[in-house]
Symmetry: D2
Subunit: 343 residues, 4 copies
């Protein structure tokens, strides 16, 4: 039945490990370290067993949580951390300075939130063609780097993974870096989380298609993917808001009980910890009030599927955010790849 | 109190008359005609009294409701109707063929859903500079037309209305056409409704600012504005979905009672007329279940205001839709202005 | 010696057969037909022997010479002829309606005159992904078509031919269409000539690099390339102008002898047939005056090589011309590929 | 007679004072200072008399000559000098920190070499709208700045000067900064010269139109224009090449006499000082060989006028150069206007 398939797909489709990760979850086969630097959080999850409670592929998952990248200071801090984490991953994967890299930018240049990959590629310093010219001796401080924008299937008629497979076979890089915009399953993470992983990627998994995986198994060289959620699906916005509705009520209730009057725009309830009772929730939101977050998401997903489900939610200043984020990514990638890259 | 102001602003900020119009509302001072042609609905509301139940300015409001404009046939039909309605309005406003026109495209070219105005302007046939050259005698079948893209205040630091006022004073057109992308208060209308009015426009009213009006009163020549909702505010999506949740439940209930099993994607409940009882609504959604649509909107607006309210919701293929819509608009405007415009 | 190599490269680098074709040249191994329709000239040269005086590869070379494509009427006529010539070529190459096509747009999207290929691709109707989905039965009136923009080596670090080879191997089309902007060796032909050939193409041959050929031999399927000269090299402009200087003088001389006074802008000397004597040429332009056209080109090439040779010459309205030309190409290609393509 | 007019226009149309300036020319009414810093030349010409041998308007003309701005080090040096020169000019014009500025970017965004103005504006930090909001107290380290892109007459039908006049009257800035791309009369200066002047500007003077001047006289506030030549006219390329032909011959002759064999690409003749004799020039280039540089330009202009004169010559990498140059300009302008602008 189609419905089952959709819902199941939904259930597993989250690209971000933080969406399924629970700090208590550290069990056999899952190692985690957490760190903070310059106000930026770095969570490293290593999955060592194929069978694991997170139902994720084996590999390293680095989640970097940052604030507004349109602020220059934040951008610089994030860039620094990205360089460090990428280099650590290279070491871990035994990627040496002599190894050739192909950087791929997935996504649709014409759709602002999906243009992150292509925009990043535009600023990658490529050197491969210099290495190809016999007479030129390339400065060893510059790695052999090529880059590529495969476009989207809707425009080319070809699956991105086929294009990338074809090129990888032809030019034989020693490792592949893939940049992609993701869909988030939480409003809080959009444009504020970077996930770096060596476990592979499914291009376009955000649109519920079964696409071929890009990974060590399919490309036969290490694959590092860098993903940033840049949109929220409509059902995420709705279900998040329903949670906020409960929180907002709870927060207001407490303040009114304390006779505090707080204007709407200053009601900083987001981090409020108080909880409504089961009874209060029922009074306010009926049966829906007592569903789990996951159940609300499935419910809203089911409601929105038959009608104009084809909606995406973005911050209003998305074009500016994508510009800045792609700059930070390109700078960090360039520095991690080339010893001598002067920002 | 800021909250009151915001909510009041919200209450009056709908740009579309169809959002407040109720077919029963025809009273003294409000005339309406309705028509359908080629599957496209044309609603004409004429407000003749300053004081009216719709709380809208005096003037003609033409609302054209159409289907998917990325379909060539639909696009052609819509274009034809637009030309007809624009010409009728010219006649009504005593705009003759000799009169000089300035076409203005409001909005931000860099933000896809807001680029409708600037993109339309790119395809307007301008002739004014030919009329300015003494030695050239311009074919009388081409009207004296100039066009202009004022940009957005965030980029220029100048209010669009100031820029337009300055240019109108300088070049003295006989009438002004303004194209703008609007925010919709309903998911169903986004990219499916065109409103043409001679009552004036508040540039950027979609972002809750008090901007100076562009109208006959301020520009001293007739002003025709053409607006299309291209985004929904986040709170609209959420409150619409809550209504759909109730409808969806009601629809399912009936089908299950009839022992019909309908897959999610085929549950065409949108036009289902059945209603849940007060009690059922309470059971399902608590107090929220029994709020009016308007009250739910205000509630969600209040919940979303303090947190990342700054979200917009667009169809996923928005870049393609804006391209096509701006083509249709430009073609229709060109044909309405120039006798000899060959599409 | 580098110089020799450069000059030799220059000598053979003309992409257009009309640049080397001489109507008297019809000899054994070269067949030509010439035709005019709607003011558009169609020259078909078929080279049947590997060894031939034109030093071109075996194959068909169709040269279409047209006027200003920014004129709608001209554009429509050209489109019609393009469709006809493409279909004739398909028949000739035994390309049937069932055969799968890959359309490739060479060139740099960021450089206006070189964006012809990528801009054309943006409007190609692709269907391949529909054919890939098992559950969908595609209307047989739509051919299986994919498209692709490989980018330029300077941006990707990868030769376009490697990218295309990789993709062709992966998706296995039955024939390949390649669109490219060329450099012209004559001011008169820029944006006024289309060459269609089945003999293959050297991507980027305009920039004096030895690139791998794309042809039946390398891709193992028929390759049809469609090229339009959109820029002139600086040395072409200079040497053409030196020829014009002589012609202009000759034309003026005759008119002054006849006591005609013609204002500069009306001196229609371009098609003037009169020739200066050897002595007159020497007086006017010294030794340079008596060099052959080819010799002047080589001389100017030699002068410009050491200094800022890196110049390109384009018409001032090039952005507009490229927009229109890519529309015409895309429309024609779509009609030639899909039986049911409705313009 | 049209010809006379054209040639006269040509004669006076050079936008750059360096094109007409002769270091010996320092006479009554013309003051010059010359300076070099970090390999960048700064020539300041002050014209104090309306009647002067340079036939230029009274005012300061600062000419900055720099090398390749796509090199990061060069770009930084140039930026620093630009800031210093702009600030000196502000002091000179008694522009204080409290004074409001309007920054205008002339030119056509769609034509790469002409996009310099619009692209610069995109990165100008504007603050005017903050000053307009009563409740906000703007940090005094940020000047009141607005910016604007008027577009080109061919697209808007309105003269840029009319648009700017209209806006200046409306928003009343205390001074105006105008950024524009110019046509150069020498290959050596293209993308390597910045002219800053307080004497005003004729928008679009590059295209031989009589446009209204933008200056202190017409706008009633100080006007500082910043212009960079980004294209060469075709006739400039040709006449420059004819000069190079003579130089090249002279250089080769000497080297062959010394039995030196130098490959074409290494013939660094550009700065070679040797001159051919009158007789040698005649032998080589006939009468043309002995015309003055100015006369050759007029001759070539006359030859190219009746045929496709509408050509522009740009470096091949123009899109990249314009990107970098507009960044440098915007950074320098921002720093000169805002005390606290952090690059």
């Amino acid at each position: 039945m189609k419905q089952e398939k959709d819902l199941k797909n939904y259930a597993i489709r989250t690209d971000l490990i933080v969406d399924v990760f629970d700090s208590q979850a550290e069990t056999d086969g899952i190692l985690t370290t957490q760190e903070e630097q310059d106000g930026i959080q770095i969570l490293e999850v290593t999955i060592t067993k194929e069978e694991n409670p997170l139902k994720k592929k084996k590999g390293k998952y680095i989640t970097i949580t940052y604030q507004d990248v349109t602020d220059k200071e934040n951008a610089k801090k994030l860039e620094k951390i990205l360089v460090k984490e990428l280099k650590k991953l290279y070491t871990n994967l035994q990627i040496t300075e002599q190894m050739k890299c192909l950087v791929v930018g997935l996504g649709n240049r014409a759709s602002t939130p999906d243009a992150l990959g292509p925009k990043t590629i535009e600023n990658i310093l490529v050197t491969r063609y210099l290495y190809e010219i016999e007479e030129i001796e390339v400065d060893a401080n510059y790695r052999n780097v090529a880059s590529f924008i495969p476009g989207v299937t809707g425009n080319t008629g070809i699956e991105s993974s086929d294009i990338i497979l074809g090129i990888v076979e032809k030019i034989q890089p020693d490792f592949v870096l893939i940049v992609d915009a993701l869909a988030s399953s939480s409003m809080d993470r959009v444009n504020k989380t970077i996930q770096i992983t060596d476990s592979g990627i499914h291009p376009g998994s955000g649109v519920y298609n079964d696409r071929k995986e890009l990974s060590l198994e399919t490309l036969h060289v290490p694959v590092i993917s860098i993903g940033i959620p840049t949109v929220i699906e409509a059902f995420v916005l709705v279900s998040d808001t329903i949670q906020y509705l409960l929180k907002h009520f709870s927060y207001n209730k407490e303040n009114y009980q304390k006779n505090k009057l707080i204007p709407v725009t200053l009601r900083n309830y987001q981090n409020y910890e108080g909880e409504l009772s089961h009874q209060e929730k029922t009074k306010l939101l009926g049966e829906v009030g007592n569903l789990s977050e996951e159940e609300v998401k499935e419910l809203i997903f089911e409601v929105l599927t038959p009608i104009g489900y084809n909606m995406m939610v973005t911050p209003k200043e998305i074009d500016f955010v994508i510009d800045k984020t792609s700059e930070v990514l390109a700078n960090a990638i360039n520095q991690s790849l080339h010893k001598n890259f002067d920002r």
